[in-house]
């Protein structure tokens, strides 16, 4: 018969196991990644007869997948054991969510994608000037003079060094040609 006290203890332990810690999340994501990698490793096409080779193109990826699955499973088990041994303290002051920082970070990544898609379309000079101005703006620079001074001359000097001095071609932009 389970007494109320042991029942409480069991519930507490299950809660600890279910508790999502950084270690567990990392190991779990890696486990899923390894399984998918392993699946695709089996899909690697082989040349006729290659399947009889002692070492084929699939061999190494399969080994990596197997090792990764073992290691990530071990990491999940270890993090559960660690949580039971020394439960993560819930009262610890968690770092406040830096909303502004995250918005800026996401905007900069979007800006990088924008840069990648406009570089060959608008050309190096215009797209880079836009990238720098928007980048400074995202990080809080609002003074128009600084926005222009820290972008236009930088890009023009860089462009001159690359094209005139080192003879490296920088795209002029498909839209203009």
């Amino acid at each position: 018969m389970i007494t109320g006290h042991t029942k409480k203890q069991t519930v507490h332990k299950v809660k600890q196991i279910m508790n999502i810690t950084k270690d567990k999340v990392g190991a779990l994501i890696f486990f899923i990644f390894s399984v998918s990698y392993g699946y695709y490793a089996y899909q690697i096409p082989l040349y006729p007869g290659e399947e009889y080779d002692v070492f084929s193109s699939q061999s190494m990826p399969k080994l990596y997948a197997l090792a990764s699955i073992i290691i990530s499973t071990l990491a999940i088990i270890m993090s559960i054991i660690n949580d039971i041994k020394s439960p993560p303290c819930n009262n610890v002051n968690k770092k406040e969510f830096n909303r502004k920082g995250w918005t800026q970070l996401a905007s900069l990544i979007a800006l990088m994608v924008f840069y990648g898609s406009t570089l060959e379309l608008l050309g190096f000079i215009i797209s880079t000037i836009l990238f720098l101005i928007f980048g400074y703006f995202i990080l809080g620079e609002r003074r128009p003079k600084i926005l222009l001074v820290a972008s236009v001359p930088v890009v023009l000097v860089f462009w001159a060094i690359m094209t005139k001095l080192l003879g490296i071609y920088l795209t002029t932009g498909d839209i203009w040609s």
Binding site: D23, I44, M60, I109, G116, L132
Partner: protein, 509 residues
């Protein structure tokens, strides 16, 4: 050796290469000083420039950047208590208290002298050790290399910080998996390209290094904007004297000698780099100090500052030994250098000493020149370089992003790489937030191709049998060491558990 040294001197002392060392040291110091940016970022940012110059000059430039970045890290540790590099964390223990007492100049000078001495002594060791080890490693065969690569990959994880052993192994495996993307070199089969033509050549190492280090470090600095270090401006206006008294030099001389030897040998070990060397040297000096001297540690002790500074520079030189002689990098930084060398078409290893003696020797000689540059040119200019830290962070971050993106684009001229970089930067940020370390990843990625090639060759040579693992004594010895290295963290965690259990029992009694 004398002839080789002459070749090295001739190459390294050409006007162009001296300019590269000076430039490298400056840029390295500057980037190293920026909190959050380390030597890998500094070197990665330099790689696109080095593609246009010859391999020796490229390596000289990168070695200068490496030294500069470590020195720059020490500067920010001392001036603003914000180590730019993990290897200089121990420097801040006594360096920052000295700066608080108005002795920033003295602390910086001591750091420079200690780095110079550590680097110099280690360069002499390197001069002797590298050619000797190179000759031995000429007899190595594929199974030995396979075993050595395994050792290098596992050692990085074994020397990682407490509790991160499995995480480091996972990152190494992630790097190895990424290295399999693209066309298989042996069979010509496409692997994990998902029909993308841009992935046929695989993922470039520069792209991985830039996005996993430069981009993600710059982006992460936005999230840590409100940290305590923000707002602490460099005390460049209040440096104090740069001079050390004779008594002070006499006091730290034995420390410097001990830490140089310790740092070099720790640096040679695969996986253990400047960080471990600096902490070990600091711990050793504290243990050796008299009870009176011990009290000064952490409050501005000269020995406490000299020990980690000497050791981290000596370890930097030491880490070049496995890279130059075996072609196996012992740290993330030397892994990036290996990648750059391979991009030049140069294969580091025992043949480097014979096939490209000018690269081999000029790197060794340039290390020495780099140390001289740091001491005589960088040190007096530190107050001015420190002013660069006053530059608005919003401008610096965006410029680093730009140089990273364009650096990769200028090599491939493919906008797809920029999208990939954005993707990898997101992955790197996620991994960093989950406390994964990036160095094992880059090491795994760069060594992945070599590991597969050597395993394939060994298995084929032994007709599908795995007896190559124990057939040669060298292979077996290296594999046994690898096994021990793998067991090390396990044993230490078990011992820790036992100690905790014992202390619990004592507490219960």
């Amino acid at each position: 050796m004398g002839e080789g040294l002459l070749i090295g001197l001739e190459t390294a002392l050409s006007t162009q290469n001296i300019m590269f060392v000076i430039f490298g040291c400056f840029v390295g110091t500057f980037i190293g000083m920026l909190p959050g940016l380390g030597p890998i970022t500094a070197i990665a940012l330099m790689i696109p420039i080095t593609y246009g110059i010859d391999p020796s000059s490229g390596m000289i430039l990168m070695a200068g950047v490496y030294y500069g970045a470590i020195f720059g890290g020490s500067t920010s540790s001392i001036l603003i208590n914000a180590p730019g590099v993990a290897g200089t964390v121990a420097t801040s223990f006594d360096g920052y208290p000295m700066a608080c007492k108005g002795q920033a100049g003295k602390a910086l000078a001591l750091a420079a002298y200690a780095s110079f001495s550590g680097g110099t002594i280690a360069a002499v060791f390197l001069l002797v050790a590298a050619p000797a080890l190179s000759k031995i490693s000429l007899s190595f065969q594929s199974p030995d290399y396979f075993a050595l690569l395994l050792l290098g990959l596992t050692a990085v994880a074994a020397f990682s910080s407490k509790g991160n052993f499995l995480k480091s192994i996972m990152m190494t495996l992630f790097g190895l998996m990424l290295s399999t993307v693209g066309t298989d070199q042996a069979s010509g089969v496409e692997r994990f390209t998902f029909g993308q033509i841009d992935l046929l050549d695989g993922i470039s190492f520069l792209l991985i290094a830039m996005s996993m280090f430069a981009l993600s470090e710059a982006l992460m600095s936005i999230l840590s904007k409100d940290d305590k270090n923000e707002g602490q401006k460099p005390t460049s206006s209040n440096m104090g004297s740069l001079k050390l008294t004779k008594a002070e030099i006499k006091d730290v001389a034995p420390t410097v000698a001990r830490s140089s030897v310790l740092g070099f040998f720790v640096g040679v070990l695969p996986g253990a780099g400047a960080t471990i060397a600096s902490f070990l040297a600091y711990g050793l000096e504290r243990n050796l100090a008299s009870a009176k001297e011990k009290l000064k540690f952490g409050k501005g002790s000269l020995r406490g500052l000299a020990a980690p500074e000497t050791a981290n520079n000596a370890a930097c030189s030491g880490s070049f030994v496995p890279l130059l002689t075996l072609g196996i990098p012992g740290s993330g930084t030397t892994a990036v250098m290996l990648g750059a060398l391979m991009a030049y078409g140069i294969q580091p290893g025992p043949r480097l000493f014979i096939d490209n003696p000018e690269v081999f020797w000029s790197v060794i000689v340039s290390m020495y020149i780099g140390n001289i540059v740091l001491l005589f040119i960088n040190l007096p200019l530190i107050p001015y370089i420190a002013k660069a830290l006053d530059l608005p962070k919003q401008l610096l971050t965006v410029l680093i992003l730009f140089f990273s993106l364009i650096g990769v684009y200028l090599v491939s001229f493919n906008a797809f790489d920029i999208f990939m970089m954005a993707g990898f930067a997101i992955i790197a940020i996620g991994l960093r937030l989950l406390n994964f370390s990036m160095s094992p990843l880059i090491l795994g990625f760069i060594l992945g191709g070599m590991l597969e090639q050597n395993l394939r060759r060994s298995v084929t040579l032994y007709d599908g049998s795995i007896s190559f693992l124990w057939d040669r004594p060298i292979t077996l010895t290296i594999l046994v060491i690898t096994g021990l290295v793998l067991l090390m963290p396990l044993v230490s965690s078990l011992r820790k558990d036992k100690n905790t259990d014992d202390s619990v029992k004592v507490a219960e009694i």
